[in-house]
Symmetry: C2
Subunit: 299 residues, 2 copies
DNA sequence: CTTCCAACTTTGTCCAGGACAAACAGTGCG
DNA sequence: CGCACTGTTTGTCCTGGACAAAGTTGGAAG
């Protein structure tokens, strides 16, 4: 029996909803309805946390909380599957990886990943192995099948593998030089790293700024002429409206000679209304875009 | 002239003080005293942000806010220097690195770092180059000499260099197997990576769990017998009391055969009251400890 | 003179309830 | 069918207060 005592602070970190939102929902919808400890502080149950995780993900997909809070776990999972976001068991090695993570068999895990990397090459490794694996591991966490510690362990290993592969491929300042980052508030390092791997793999030079770069800084950097392309990535947790607004603001501030490339599930389906913004639906499409950029540069 | 408009949300992210704390201070001490925009929301000035950064760091060193809020920037900087925490210009290459960061000359930066790594070897590279460089860059940010974007860029490059070096050195499961992480709330990835580099460099196997591992998970993991040593790192931002309490709790939960190693500026000066906890004052002392562990294992 | 305990002060986190603009979902008109 | 307008939903910020945990101080006891 696990003890169902989670403070509002722990829930905020775990689920990713702020304390203000958690309290507002409780008042407005009656969910969650945590108990209270001896100080009158909220105490959330395991079930509430799992439901909140599911609801959070559905909201990130564009749904609204009002209609979700009444549903139970099974219904929420059904909704998620119907969205096609999660394609269960699409990833053949996911089960093996999850087992290695649970048993903390790190050397074996790293060996497995490195072998796959060697066999498939960096590009296909990222597209066909890492991408579906990320989805599978994220879903395992959502279900409560693995702990946060295990997800951290996973992230660490993937980072190590990708970063060393990137370091090995990186030449000496080949063009185009691509500035790679996200808008402020955005925080999904792994997605950025995957894009960087794809780009480096095709001979580009990446200047990765990490996550949460202030927008003002980006504009200022553009004037330095230190890069040829600005690439941005948005996770699904990022509100689309803010992404679009930020994009347009950036577009007007940057010189027209610098194209903006955008990707990530937070922006999929968006049709740019301005010239000079390209949206990528998947990792594959980066490669032809790079080739096109190069030939355009020569013509 | 920079526009001095920062929302409370931006300040929270930049400085690392929660909205609740910022409002409490304003009411209690009269500092900060932000203006208000047309909606009545707080608007902080650049100077307030810089002072708040300095105050935050002093608090992390163990001081208390009441006596700090009345001081101006010069006085706060003096306090920081008198604490000896910041040894200015101890790092000869810091100025060069800062310039490369500002100009976004990433390939040169990476070349510089890699050359130093080759010349010094991983161990001395971490001790003599990265460690003082981190301090210098942190101080540059504190002073407002570099932007957050540049600090991100720095972190990215260091991560890449260290992670590839680690990946290269990692053999196939040599002992001891060391579980490396921090307690929850702790979030300084670079420090962990430096420790990992030192350990791997001496032939140990690291199971790096990343930051913010829930304490409950750590206890559970101990029973799996998947590692020989538990290593924890605390940054100075972590309240010492919670570190000590967490340590003792962990010590009672883990089998006595697994030593706990602790380091980081957040715990320096602590004398363990229980057997089976070792505190490291600096990165050097890890190496003899490893050798001692090995010889103990053989005897 | 040091050690230890109790009372007091400081400080961060949580709580309640309210205001409000931005985002979203319709609805009717051209 | 597209577009402007209106109503509802929703997240963030606000004020002001309660309280325990952490830190400090003063005095009694060794």
């Amino acid at each position: 029996m696990t003890k169902p005592s989670h403070s509002i602070d722990a829930v905020e970190r775990d689920v990713g909803l702020t304390k203000d939102v958690l309290r507002k929902w409780e008042r407005r919808y009656g969910f969650p309805s945590p108990g209270r400890d001896c100080h009158g502080d909220r105490v959330y149950s395991d079930d509430e946390i799992l439901r909140l995780r599911l609801i959070k993900r559905l909201i990130d997909q564009g749904r609204r909380p009002g209609a979700l809070v009444a549903l139970d776990r099974a219904q929420l999972e059904q909704l998620l599957e119907s969205a096609g976001d999660v394609a269960p068991s699409q990833c053949p090695i996911a089960a093996d990886v999850a087992r290695l993570l649970r048993d903390r068999r790190v050397p074996e895990l790293r060996t497995t990943l490195n072998q796959l990397l060697l066999r498939q090459g960096l590009r296909h490794f990222v597209q066909d192995t890492i991408a579906p694996l990320n989805v599978a591991i994220g879903e395992a966490w959502l279900r409560g099948d693995i702990e946060i510690a295990e997800e951290h362990l996973y992230t660490e290993q993937i980072q190590t593998v990708l970063r060393s592969a990137i370091a090995m491929q990186t030449g000496a300042g080949a063009s185009p030089r691509i500035l790679l980052t996200t808008l402020p508030d955005e925080l999904h390092a792994l997605g950025l790293l995957m894009v960087e791997a794809m780009l480096v793999c095709e001979g580009a030079t990446c200047i990765a700024l990490g996550t949460q770069t202030p927008a003002a800084d980006l504009g200022a950097i553009g004037e330095g002429n230190a890069f040829d392309v600005l690439a941005l990535s948005f996770s699904s947790a990022f509100p689309r409206r803010r992404a679009v607004d930020g994009l347009i603001a950036l577009r007007t501030r940057l010189p027209a000679s610098i194209p903006i490339w955008v990707g990530g599930s937070g922006i999929s389906g968006y049709r740019p209304t301005v010239d000079g913004i390209t949206v990528f639906r998947n990792l594959d499409s980066i490669v032809p875009a790079l080739q096109q950029w190069r030939s355009r540069g020569l013509s």
